[in-house]
Amino acid sequence: MSRQEIFAKVRAALDARDGDGRRAVTEARIAAPPLHPRPARAAVSDTNARADFKRHLQNVSADFAAVAAPEDVPGTIAAFVSANYPGDAVTLGRDPWLAALPWQRAPELQRQDWKPGAPPRIGLSRAVAAIAETGTLVLSSGPENPASLNYLPEVHIVVVQSSSLKASMEAGIAAARQSPGPAGMPRTLALVSGASRTADVGGKLVAGAHGPKKLLVIFVG
C-alpha cells in the first residue's frame, strides 16, 4: 500500500507523466555515470600521490611503513608486533597474496586463521587499492579479507601494493568493483582512513572508540 502511495505522491509532486522522458535520463546516467569535476590533487597524473597518501595517513596518526618488495612484509610485521605487542598472534583470512609471502623469514611471528566470533588482538588484511587524495585504504570483504578484521581487532595491519595506489577516490573505488551494477560490488566495500576514533566526550579526539586503536599501513614497492 505504502509503496503505491509514496510513488503516487512523488510523481504528483514532480508533475510526472508517462513518456515524459525522465526514465531514459536516469537510465542513461546509470549506464554512463557522470564525470564530475575532481580536485587537482585527485588528477590521474598526480606525481605526489605517494607522498600525499603517506602524509594523509600520518595526519590521522596511522603508522606507515614502506618496504621495497613483498618478501620484506613478514619481517616488518614481526618487528612491529614484537616491539609493540610481544607474544601476540596475527589473525588473517585466506588472501592468496598474503598466503604466498615468505613467512619462513619471520619464524618468531605467530599467525592464525580468522574464524567468525572472537575478536582478534591483531588483524592483518590486504587492501585492493589505496587512495592518495585522502590517505584511504580500499578493502573488499570476502573469505580472503573478512570485513570484521577492519573493525574488531585492537590493531589493524593493512598491506597494500604501490602499483594499486590511485590518485582519486573514484579510481580507488573502481578497483574494488568486478563489473558495473550490484553484482560487481563486494558485500562490504570498506574505505579505511586511520584508526577508529571519537570526539563525543567533551569534544576531545580519542583513538580506539570501538574499532582498532592503531592502524599500521605497509606500503609495498
Binding site: 510513488f7 505522491k9 504528483a12 555515470p33 580536485p39 570483504s141 577492519n150 553484482a183 580506539g208 572508540a209
Partner: protein, 475 residues
Amino acid sequence: MTAPITLFKGRVGEALLDTQLQAALGEVPVNLAGNRAKAKAALPEFEALRDTARDIKDHTLAHLDHYLEIYEKNATATGAIVHWASTPDEARSAILAICHDAKARLITKGKSMVSEEIHLNDHLEKAGFEVVETDLGEYLIQLEHEAPSHIIAPAIHLTVAEVERRFRKAHTQFPDSRVFNEPADLVAEARQVLRQKFLSADVGITGANFLISETGSSIIVTNEGNGDLTQLLPKVHIVIASIDKVIPTMADAVSLLRLLPRSATGQETTAYVTYTTGPRRSSELEGPEHVHVVILDNGRSELLGSNMRSVLRCIRCGACMNHCPVYGAVGGHAYGTVYPGPIGAALMPGLSSVKENAHLAGASTFCGACASVCPVKIPLPDLMRHWREAEFQAGSGSLIARASLKAWEVIALRPKLYHRVMRFAAATLGALGRRRGAFRWLPLAGGWTRHRDLPAPEGRTFQQLWRETQQGVPR
C-alpha cells in the same frame, strides 16, 4: 495547552542560564566550524564542488521516482528486502515485525536521525526489546533518555564531568573507586561495555548517509566504526532511510563524500566510509543473513512538490548548526525538535505541522551564515522566511507580533509617510538621548536594553544626511 512558541521561549531562557550547557557550547561548535574552515582552505576546489553537489541533488530530486525504483530493483537483486513507509507508524510497524520474526532480544543501533524522527527506540523498548545505541554520543544521551542536541554530535551539550557522572550511575558492574583521569578513560569503559553488545546482538539497525541506485548499496560514514559493527555482526541488518537519501551513481556519491566530512567535522574523510550491498554472500562466513531497507516518506513527498524542495538536498552534515549564532547560544534541545538549528527550522514545519514548528523560523537573525556554509547550497534563510510568511498567513504567532507587522506594512508601503515617521523618530530619540548618547531603557526595546544600552540616533535620518551631502551642506 501552552503554545509551542511559549514553550520554545521557556527552553531558550533555561538554556541561556544553564552554565554546563554554555560551557559545552562555548567550545565544540566553534571548533567544528574552525576545522571546516581549515579543510576548505586545503581544498581549493571546495566552492566549485558545492555547485556540483547541489546539481547532483537537484537532478536526483527531479527524477526521484525513477531513482527510487532503480534502487529498489538493484537492492532486491542483491537479496535485500525493501519496505516502504509513508508514515513513522508504518516504518515502526515494519521494523517491529522484522525484529519479532528474528526472535530478537538485543538490538544494537548505529546513529540514525531518521530513527529519531520516528522515535524508534521508545517503540522497540515498549515491545520488550533491549535497544542499545552504539555511537558513543548517542549512547551517552540514551543513558538519560535524552534526544540528540546536534545531528552529528548528539551529546555536544555534555561536559566531561557529566559523562563521568552518567557512567558511574549506569555501569554499576565496575568498582566505585575507579578513576577517570581523561576522556580516553571514559571512552575505554564505553568500549568495554558496548563490545559485549556488538557481539551478542540479534539485530543491527543503522541509518544510511546515501542509498545508491546504480548498485543497490547503502553507505554509512563513521569515525568510531560502531555503525560498521552494527551492520556486520548480527544475523539481521535493518537500514532505515528517508526517500531523499537516494542518489543515482557511485560517482555521485564520491562528489558528495568530498564535502560531507569536510563540512561536518573538517576531516578530509572519516575513519570509515562503508558501502554494503545485500546480505552475506555464499562464500562468506560473516555478515547478516537478512538485510532489510525501510524507506520513509513522512512528509517529504509534499516538500518535493512545493517551493521548499531544496530542503531535501540536505546531506545532514550539521555545518548550519555549527555556524549559527542562535544555535551557538541556546544549543539543540531548546528547539524541541528532532532536527535543530537552521535545517531544523527549515525542515520541521514540513515534516511535522506548520502550526507547531513555524515559530522556529523566528530563531534566526537571517545572518546567512548557514546558507554560506551549506555544502548543497540550501537557501536556508529564504526557506525560513517562507515559514514566517506561512505562519503569518495562517493567523498564528503572537498578537503583538502580528499587530507590529501590520503597522510596519502600513508605513513601509507609503514612502512619504515612512520618511515623516522616521524623521520624527530620529529627531525625538536624538533629542532625548543627546546627553548620554544612549538609552538604558526604551519602550518596546526591552529585549535589547535589558542586556545593553541602545545607542541614540544622531537626530537626522540617513535620507536627510544624504540629501544634505548631495547639496554640499558642510557637516
